[in-house]
Symmetry: C2
């Protein structure tokens, strides 16, 4: 708990304001170990806490169905910024801002950026409040710093798992990107969506490293998956059921395009796209995933069959070239 | 497809009667390999088929949320008999009756029943139409045959994964049970809920075998799980979200009982109880599962922590004895 701001005072105020008796709590995987602690805090505020145990990787996955089924008065979603425009149940987003200092990690990144002059600065919501400090360090090292704002996300420079519009909007203007934050997940997204060298400044580990080799590996793997899918006969187009991931009309469109190329295709709907779910369909040769593109890009080695993004499926049916996909569209779902 | 009656004429009639444009199809794991075939049939009847890819082990798991989210006109649930009293979307149950002859398998079972005079006859919904034939063979072998009907399920002699009331209602009156059907799942349930010797007559493999050793193994495993849970400090009480599995008040009750014994306890809600879901909670020492009891009984080796049924939790808090649990209550959720 010590690394994050859990905004307990705001939560207490909201519970009292709504006179909330039942509160549903949704935590990303990294915060789930704090479940008992968080539940006990809510209980002290006078409400019954219920924790959603299902995987949660983004605010696209808001637990609306659970909240309605269990008749809760308030849903507290931790770790992500608001994404859906409208929530059917009273909802607060606790962004879980990190309380760590990022200066050391950013300083560690400077040698890796020595060949680049113009640096694009990006981060996850946990660290948006540190961008000014990071910028100062880069300016001090005589870099030009650019922070993108395409207007789609909540904060300038912010990226989320499936949306790199802020990075893409400035990719032409920079030589490399610096991502401030933990883990490889978001930094990989920056590298894949911009094709620019990308360095991670990780304040949890106080170190910096390049993500370019991992990004190259994924690009090669995607090529292999697309080639395998070109030879496939029977397709399933996957429709996710998470509130921010349902893309039914796109799925129908992909199905029609595949059938136009003499492929058989059916629509499969699912709550979670997992290897265990798909293994039940031995007669399907390849999948097109209209839900979260990161499942296709990051988890390929866990699946036995190709699981393409929508844009990758367009390469299979010949509507998009591999080159153009690499340049613009890996996150096109 | 050849082993089951898929009632295509009835499906066609319903689609035309409802003028259904979108149809959601829900299949148990064993029928998912037929997905493309079934989807194409529905398409020929003039509707758009959507197949639910999520695991489905019973009619308790009716895909109502999916049906509503995707705005379908008809839900076709295969492989199980109706369980919920009322469906919020037009629903038909295709029980997928097996077209196999069971005579050989039942005849194979006779030597294993030679020491028993009174035989209780049970089956899954796939084979309820064969009970008369099976009874004839047993009568011919000079057995007394009893078929239970406790009034809770759709057919006399029928069992489902979590309900053995038809078997339990006659357990006192029989020396052993014969289960007609495939696999060990239902037969194990008969053995565990009645503590009577149980033989399977499997018409898919045309062979018969005793299930008693497997049942003994599970009983021993349950004892070990309960003992481990007695030493646990932090509990989570699991609430399933499937329409026929939500037991929120029972979960609250168990939470209170655990807390009364100086255990910490919180409520976790989940769509699927899987090892992957629970592994995200390292600080929880033991779980109480108010959803499907079979997850506790059959999958114990897949979980790293004890996952008790509600009745097993009553043993932990001292409200039920192990002996009484074994006699009456393994399926008490």
């Amino acid at each position: 708990m010590k690394h994050y701001d859990f905004e307990q005072e705001r939560i207490k105020r909201e519970i009292l304001r709504l006179n909330a008796k039942r509160v549903l709590i949704q935590l990303p995987e990294g915060l789930k170990p704090e479940t008992l602690h968080i539940a006990k805090t809510i209980e002290r505020f006078g409400a019954l806490p219920i924790v959603s145990a299902d995987p949660c990787y983004g605010a696209c996955d808001l637990a609306i169905v659970e909240a309605e089924r269990l008749n809760v008065d308030l849903l507290i979603h931790y770790g992500h910024a608001k994404l859906l425009r409208y929530e059917r149940v009273p909802t607060i987003y606790v962004e879980a801002r990190a309380t760590l200092n990022v200066n050391n990690a950013v300083t560690e990144a400077l040698p890796m950026l020595k060949n680049y002059q113009k640096i694009g600065l990006t981060t996850s919501v946990q660290h948006v409040q540190t961008l000014d400090e990071a910028k100062e360090i880069l300016l001090h090292a005589r870099k030009v710093v650019v922070i993108g704002d395409a207007g789609r996300l909540n904060y300038p420079g912010q990226v989320i798992g499936c949306d790199y519009s802020n990075a893409k909007s400035i990719a032409k203007d920079v030589d490399a990107f610096l991502f401030v934050g933990g883990g490889k997940f978001h930094a990989l997204g920056v590298a894949l969506s911009t094709s620019r060298p990308t360095v991670v400044a990780d304040p949890y580990e106080n170190r910096a490293y390049s993500i370019d080799k991992e990004a190259d590996k994924i690009i090669k793997q995607r090529w292999a998956s697309i080639e395998e899918a070109k030879r496939a006969k029977n397709f399933a187009v996957l429709v996710g059921l998470k509130p921010g991931q349902i893309k039914f009309e796109e799925a129908l469109d992909v199905k029609k395009k595949l059938e136009g190329k003499e492929k058989a295709a059916c629509i499969l709907t699912t709550k979670e796209i997992t290897p265990e779910t798909l293994i039940a369909f031995p007669t399907i040769d390849a999948y097109v995933n209209t839900a979260c593109p990161r499942i296709s890009l990051d988890d390929a080695s866990r699946f036995q069959k190709p699981v393409l993004t929508v844009n990758e499926a367009l390469v299979v049916v010949g509507e998009l070239s591999w080159e153009k996909l690499c340049k613009e569209g890996l996150f096109g779902n």
